[in-house]
């Protein structure tokens, strides 16, 4: 659980019903996952765990996740139409209720998203009141809570582009909140939290093209001032 809360985490989110954890939180996880992938997926495998798996239908959890994958935010009044929109785009959807393990929060979903041969498996939990955590990306433990925007760079540890990335980052006008780097065998995932909802596209491209970088994503936060 995070240790700082905005007043709008408490009096909010502004959202379409019926459930903050099972609808708004689910939409937010889908939205963040879509941005980690970098595009709307062609194929989504959705594994619902715990209470998510038990009562998803009545809470429209499935619709909300798909809306998020399409780039909709929880206050989007088109959210109820997400299934139809996904169908129009030809998105292939696989959904099942599973047990991912008792150590996980009861409202957890694991998404495997594919687009043009690129695939990521992303696990997220909905903590209540619309707050969420993305806790794992491709088996690497991580913590994205969506309060801030996230820059993610996955690279070969040996190539060590970190110094150059940080140089580019600190030159940006955006406020850097926190950084973390997670290692998994010979690969590393760098995560920087940024206060603003945008990043200079040229600089982002430069980072993504650095030697040793496998993929890079920018996950914009859903501003409390946009609804």
């Amino acid at each position: 659980m995070k240790d700082t809360w905005s007043v709008f985490d408490i009096i909010g989110p502004v959202m379409v019903g019926p459930s903050s954890s099972h609808t708004a939180g689910a939409c937010k996880i889908g939205y963040m996952a879509r941005h980690i992938l970098g595009d709307i997926p062609d194929k989504a495998t959705i594994k619902l765990h715990g209470s998510f798996g038990e009562v998803f239908e009545g809470h429209c959890t499935d619709t909300a996740i798909i809306g998020g994958l399409l780039g909709m935010i929880p206050s989007d009044e088109n959210l109820p139409l997400a299934y139809e929109k996904a169908k129009e785009l030809g998105m292939e959807i696989d959904m099942e209720s599973v047990n991912l393990g008792s150590h996980l929060h009861p409202n957890t979903v694991q998404l495997t998203l594919e687009k043009n041969g690129i695939s990521h498996t992303i696990t997220g939990s909905s903590l209540g009141g619309g707050s969420v955590n993305i806790i794992e990306i491709d088996k690497i433990e991580i913590l994205l809570n969506g309060s801030f925007s996230s820059l993610l760079i996955h690279f070969e540890s040996d190539a060590c582009p970190l110094k150059n990335i940080l140089e580019l980052l600190t030159a940006l006008p955006q406020t850097l909140v926190r950084t973390e780097t997670k290692d998994n065998k010979n690969l590393s995932l760098f995560h920087a939290e940024i206060r603003e909802a945008e990043i200079d596209e040229e600089i982002f491209k430069k980072m993504a093209k650095m030697p040793g970088v496998q993929w890079a994503s920018f996950v914009p936060h859903i501003s409390h001032y946009h609804f």
């Binding site: 007043v7 009562v55 009545g58």
Partner: protein
């Protein structure tokens, strides 16, 4: 110097040390520190949310359509049209129930609402704040003060406890929002911060242990009516605190008790629709009729 607080004890301490007169002002300072947003911006945003709350209360009441399951709709209208002279409730309480149920009826139709703190408990805070503002002829600024005070109480619950019914049952939703609403209306009528926090303690204490047992897993039964009752509960807690009745257990410890109870609560009572009201014969019959896939 930091204006972040994890407990109501720390909140009270900040007010004392920096000589800040209200919970709302501490909350605004904390928000500016955390997000860089000026108090005017935060207030304007909160005022916009107040308007969405009002719209959802009215749309919920005026829309004659039932929710998809057919279980929800039309109750806010009933409490609006009833002969008020025959009720035990005062006018402000009657109005609070009407607004509270109205918001929840919007929510059940996938309408736009403000979670406060959750969607399943989104009726209580608007119900209390809007009814008191209207019946007592208070300014929008006062209503925003109420919402900021509620946020302060909510921040404490979020830090010590949770808003997740899947983790702690309905006490974490209707209980939490009732505590927040009790503090909000207490602030709106000018009660001291200490009495606002005390009102929150009284409200939450009496809803400890509340199970989350929605029939068919829908945010409908008993959620909508629990919001209607929860708002009266909040106003009663504020009145008791106004009269000088104090909670022997301080607010922070009441929240700790909520977490303790959650640790003893089986999964069946935590938003899985596998216990309580959800497994009564009537609920099972309704579930078969209204949502054949679940």
């Amino acid at each position: 110097m930091s204006f972040q607080f994890r407990s109501s004890k720390k909140l009270a301490k900040l007010m004392e040390v920096y000589n800040i007169p209200t919970i709302a002002e501490v909350v605004l300072k904390g928000e500016e520190e955390l997000t860089g947003r000026k108090p005017e911006e935060v207030r304007a945003n909160m005022a916009k949310r107040l308007q969405i709350m009002k719209q959802s209360a009215i749309l919920g009441k005026e829309n004659p359509k039932k929710s998809k399951s057919g279980l929800v709709g039309g109750d806010a209208k009933k409490i609006e049209e009833v002969d008020a002279s025959q009720l035990f409730l005062s006018e402000v309480m009657r109005k609070a129930v009407e607004y509270s149920i109205g918001v929840m009826e919007s929510n059940a139709r996938m309408g736009k609402i403000v979670a406060a703190p959750t969607a399943g408990s989104s009726g209580i805070l608007p119900g209390a704040v809007l009814a008191v503002q209207e019946c007592w002829n208070l300014s929008e600024e006062k209503a925003v003060d109420g919402l900021l005070t509620a946020a302060g109480i909510g921040i404490v619950i979020a830090n010590i406890g949770t808003f997740s019914a899947a983790a702690a049952g309905c006490q974490a939703e209707v209980g939490a929002s009732s505590a927040m609403a009790a503090a909000a209306v207490s602030a709106m009528r000018g009660m001291s911060a200490e009495r606002c926090i005390n009102a929150a303690a009284l409200a939450l204490k009496n809803l400890l242990g509340l199970a989350c047992d929605p029939i068919g897993g829908l945010v409908e039964v008993p959620c909508v009516k629990r919001n209607g009752m929860g708002v009266v509960h909040a106003l009663t807690a504020s009145d008791m605190s106004f009269a000088g009745i104090t909670s022997h257990i301080p607010f922070d410890e009441v929240v700790e008790a909520m977490t303790n109870i959650a640790s003893h609560m089986g999964e069946a009572l935590r938003e899985t629709a596998k216990g309580g009201l959800a497994v009564t014969p009537t609920a099972k019959r309704i579930t078969c009729q209204s949502c054949p896939h679940s």
